[in-house]
Amino acid sequence: MPNPSRKAYVDTTIIADALLKPGNPKSTAARSALKRYEQTFLPVYAIKEWKAGIVKNYAYFHEKLVQTKSLTRTIQIINSLPEQYWRYRKSTSLEALASAVHLAARTRRRDTPPAANEDRELADRYRLAIASLLIRRWRERRSLTTETIQDLDCYTESPPVLDESGVFNLSPVDCDSETECCLANDLRSKPELLRKMADAIPAASTRREDVQRRQVLRDLGRSKHFQLTPERCRALGDAVFAFFSPSDCVVLTTNLRDHLPLVTAIGKTAETP
């Protein structure tokens, strides 16, 4: 039963879980969590991060299926990617992948590799399933929450489009680099909040995203001439949610570890599904 006094400001992890993890309990949890609130707000910044993150990775997987016409080969390519390029699970077996799309695959012996025509058929099945999922979930994105707010003047929210070669064209993924980030002036107007958030990031952390976020927050708070480029805007990440979350909202996220110090530092709250 939703609590009418509660409002949630939804971060990227929630839409990623709710929309693009079919069959995963995290999807059910994210969708259920959204129903706990009377009002849920999705900032366009979350859509931008979502597209540049999990949507882009789905599109990459899809592109490999188009190129190789082989599920086996696609999995090999993904498994050979360094950790920083592919943070997703690499442990799903080909057998499990086959069984999820094809009833007859369940009768094949576990130790038998798929025949070439079956491998191609599986690649086609996943190619079609991924393309379908991306198109349907893109359409759903703005109806997942009760409202979508805070449009970004410097970002064009274009849908993923299948081009003539059958692969997804996601452009633009980033903001327009010709103009400064439309959030810059609002952020600069409250340097004390930027400083508090920078201080809240654990000083000992050497994680790349922590180091970059802390640096951009400090620089933006210190100098009115510091340009908020698309790369720096992306580095702010979770700090954008903490900063722009309306004061009567909780930030709804699965990543409490990163969000909680930031929101607490500026007198706001965060919750998980």
Binding site: L20, K21, P22, G23, N24, K26, S27, I54, N57, Y58, F61, R87, Y88, R89, T92, A96, L97, S99, A100, V101, H102, L103, A104, E121, D124, R125, Y126, L128, A129, I130, A131, S132, L133, I135, R136, R139, L162, R207
Partner: protein
């Protein structure tokens, strides 16, 4: 002079829809892009348009199209029987008919050269059956699958984008049309 008449298939009992019936002797028949155009005097003459002319099949997918239409012609009545059986409270007979559809789906997927829209719908249906895990379909689900297959039979060259509407319809009645493994594949490993 009367206007040209584009002629539609004539059904003959036991015959194929693609069989050509001879044009009426009184009519003047000409060909344009493989289509018989008959200039009829008085009553409209009937000469069938072959199914692969009616649909824009190419050399590469004509065989698949004919095979797919045959399979769909089997699937639709089977689902109608499933729906009717459920309406008569015979769940077991209904499920038996639904199972016969499941066996046709892999064969339909092999006709995917018809187009990605067609293939996406057939794929979604097969994944939905995998995700059902043997659970019988409800009447609402049967009716939706039936509608989807009928649409596919009348528009096998459905564009991929438009095909998503049919897949969304299947989702709305509680059928899981996405492979559950995607939720597993794209689940981030915990950060150190």
């Amino acid at each position: 002079m009367s206007a040209p008449v584009l002629q539609f298939p004539k059904r003959t009992s036991g015959g194929s829809e693609t069989a050509l019936a001879p044009a009426k002797p009184a009519a003047k028949t000409s060909e344009f892009a493989g289509v018989s155009i008959v200039r009829a005097e008085g009553t409209a003459a009937l000469a069938p348009i072959p199914i692969d002319v009616l649909y824009p099949a190419t050399e590469s997918n004509r065989t698949e199209l004919i095979r797919a239409l045959q399979l769909l012609a089997e699937a639709v009545p089977a689902l109608e029987h499933a729906r009717d059986a459920l309406r008569s409270n015979d769940l077991i007979r209904s499920d038996h008919h639904v199972h016969s559809i499941q066996l046709l789906l892999p064969q339909l997927f092999r006709c995917r050269a018809i187009g990605d829209g067609f293939a996406a719908v057939v794929n979604a249906l097969e994944i939905a059956f995998v995700n059902q895990g043997g659970q019988p379909l409800t009447e609402k689900q049967i009716v939706t699958v039936l509608r989807t297959l009928k649409e596919l039979r009348s528009r096998p060259f459905v564009p991929f984008d438009l095909a998503q509407q049919s897949i969304e319809e299947l989702e709305k009645v509680g059928l899981g049309v996405d492979p559950v493994t995607l939720g597993e594949l794209f689940d981030a490993e915990p950060e150190p």
